[in-house]
């Protein structure tokens, strides 16, 4: 699988050029409003003294790091503000490869393609652990595969693309495996505000020198293009079998990006300070309603699907339909609904299709699929 060139673009291009009306459920861009305070924050920043247009601290605006640290219950020194979760994961993965003896990165299959592409770019040996029947990750399988060769285990819960949330036991055991192998668990928690199962457990809850937590405001504030994320590193003063991961990441961040863009940092800080939990509750409610519409329609079509517990996605398999780019194009042309080919995420769900429920037209898409498959086996 060529993870270097995400298929997103190809599918979105095909959908946008299709003849009929197509409902786009391809990529994970929120279609709802950011918190009101975010726009306010940007207005205010546009007015500040131009001194505040100059370099922020390389690790991020101090007040923003304070706010993140307070919310996550960690010391500010552990937080680096990054150019989205993308850079946070980059710092975590490259830092692990540098600090650890091993050169292997263990990922879940189906995998978020950027993890796989980045691991390839960094020259890591890539090992994939197929998910269970129900879409979850069996930490026992990870334990069986992990060894001293392992530098990092990269997971994402609530999960993209499976739409499931890993339980606390899984997270705990994964940290334990990382400790046992002198590796690092990289826990990407960008969908933490989108858990519908009540099962979400941050890796921060496990006190260990062997876990790095990454996150961003892309999904929680509906601003995937603003690129404000962060990484939380283990405490420096814990006994670790390797160097201070935070220190190495600070250097790498400085020498790669110098700093994270300040207008976006300033507005996100303002939004954090002035947004209540009801914003996130409303976003969750909206998504749960969409899940309800969509899975009800899937039930009608006879599709198999993974029970949605978190994130924005539903993984589904329709009778006699595969998960290739061709299958997806066929569904675009015939049913007017665009998803992502399962094969884009690896092998274990290669004959499934991922639907991102980030369109105001989810209900309409559900109806289309329902009607389309109701006409009998379409192939």
């Amino acid at each position: 699988m060529d993870y270097e060139t995400p298929q997103f673009f190809r599918v979105m291009k095909y959908a946008s050029e299709a003849e009929g009306d197509v409902i786009d459920m391809v990529s994970g861009n929120p279609d709802w409003e950011p918190p009101e305070a975010l726009r306010e924050g940007l207005y205010e920043y546009a007015d500040v003294d131009s001194g505040q247009f100059q370099y922020p601290p390389s690790v991020g605006l101090t007040a923003l790091r304070e706010e993140i640290a307070a919310r996550r219950g960690v010391d500010r020194s552990r937080v680096i503000v990054t150019n989205g979760a993308g850079e946070a994961n980059h710092l975590a993965m490259s830092g692990a490869l540098e600090a650890m003896d091993g050169n292997e990165i263990i990922m879940v299959d189906p995998v978020y393609p950027y993890y796989a592409g980045r691991a390839g770019m960094l020259g890591a040996d890539r090992t994939y652990v197929p998910v269970d029947e129900d879409g979850h990750l069996d930490a026992g399988t990870v334990r069986d595969l992990a060894s001293k060769e392992t530098a990092a285990i990269v997971v994402n819960s609530p999960n993209n693309p499976m739409g499931v949330t890993y339980g606390g036991d899984t997270i705990e055991e994964l940290v334990d495996v990382a400790e046992d192998c002198d590796a690092v668990l990289v826990s990407d928690e960008v969908y933490d505000h989108f858990d519908y199962s009540g099962k979400f457990r941050s890796a921060l809850s496990v006190d260990s020198p062997s876990r790095i937590v990454t996150n961003s405001f892309s999904k929680s504030m509906a601003i995937t293009g603003w690129r404000v994320g962060y990484a939380i590193f283990p405490d420096a003063d814990r006994p670790v079998p390797y160097g201070d991961l935070a220190d190495a990441a600070r250097t790498r961040h400085m020498l790669t990006n110098v700093a994270t863009s300040r207008p976006a940092q300033a507005a996100v800080l303002h939004a954090l300070e002035h947004t209540g939990p009801e914003y996130h509750e409303a976003a969750r409610d909206r998504m749960e309603e969409r899940i309800d519409h969509f899975t009800t329609a899937l039930d009608e079509t006879g599709a198999e699907y993974t029970d949605p517990e978190g994130s924005f996605y539903v993984m589904a398999r329709f009778p006699d339909v595969g998960g290739t780019l061709e299958d997806v194009k066929w569904l675009i042309d015939e049913a007017g609904v665009a998803g992502m080919p399962g094969e884009a995420f690896g092998e274990s769900r290669a004959d499934w299709i991922r639907f991102a429920l980030v369109s105001p037209r989810v209900e309409e898409a559900a109806q289309r699929l329902d009607e389309f498959f109701a006409e009998g086996n379409p192939r």
Copy 2:
């Protein structure tokens, strides 16, 4: 020299904690206003449909790339919008190391510390070419040192920290050296709007598969904290002895940062579209006036200094004063003027001090130095 931890921070901290009033001429943060249209652009962006808050194209907003390409006379496909010139240089240097046989990066001494730190992080062999007596780079010396082991030659004109501008002949010969050695010239031109000598020549003017030009809006729009820069890669369809550098850089950019922050990109685009040359002329005039005040005072003190031709900096050596951190601290305490130790940039100007003329108090600083050294040899 430990280029991994820039001394900027240490000096600025010392200056801010000093007892008396200190004029800060340490770092290169413009103290003037950005173009009016930049603030306007940010206001407007704060109001756009939230769909425009989502992922921009990874390589940058299409209209911004168009605008850059038109101004630089290149095809849009050659432009990648980056998280400042920092990331642009990172893509150029890491791409050169990957594509070329050699593992050496040649830099000028005194060097902009980020180049040296980044080359170290990337595991390159670092070679430094000392500048001439008058602060310029002798391309002939680079030719003597360069070989098949060379992957990249990194230069910066107008130059930080020397304050000189390289002539067209130098740039041409450097590209030629890069071609001869199957290496790449990385030409960082962030001070292109701050040439007072009329000598500035972009490496883009030399048609070659062996040069990458990097730039940013940090200095030209007085927004070092916004992180909008770009890299211009050689044409893909020219015969090159190595892979398509642009293609590799696009992948690296995507897998490191995903994209560049969109609010900053949008506002910079608006500013480009609505700012005339008079903005840059005024900035240049302001700086020339400061240079005049400052060098007049230096003449009075008996200091030696490099004739300023470009950028924001004046490199000077006072009688019986060195260029160490201790010397700089002494000048802060005794004269109330803070510069950067020459030793922070390497060996060839280790007993000099760099002054960044980005303070409205340059004239006052000049007076202070003048009076301070007029009292006789202070040491």
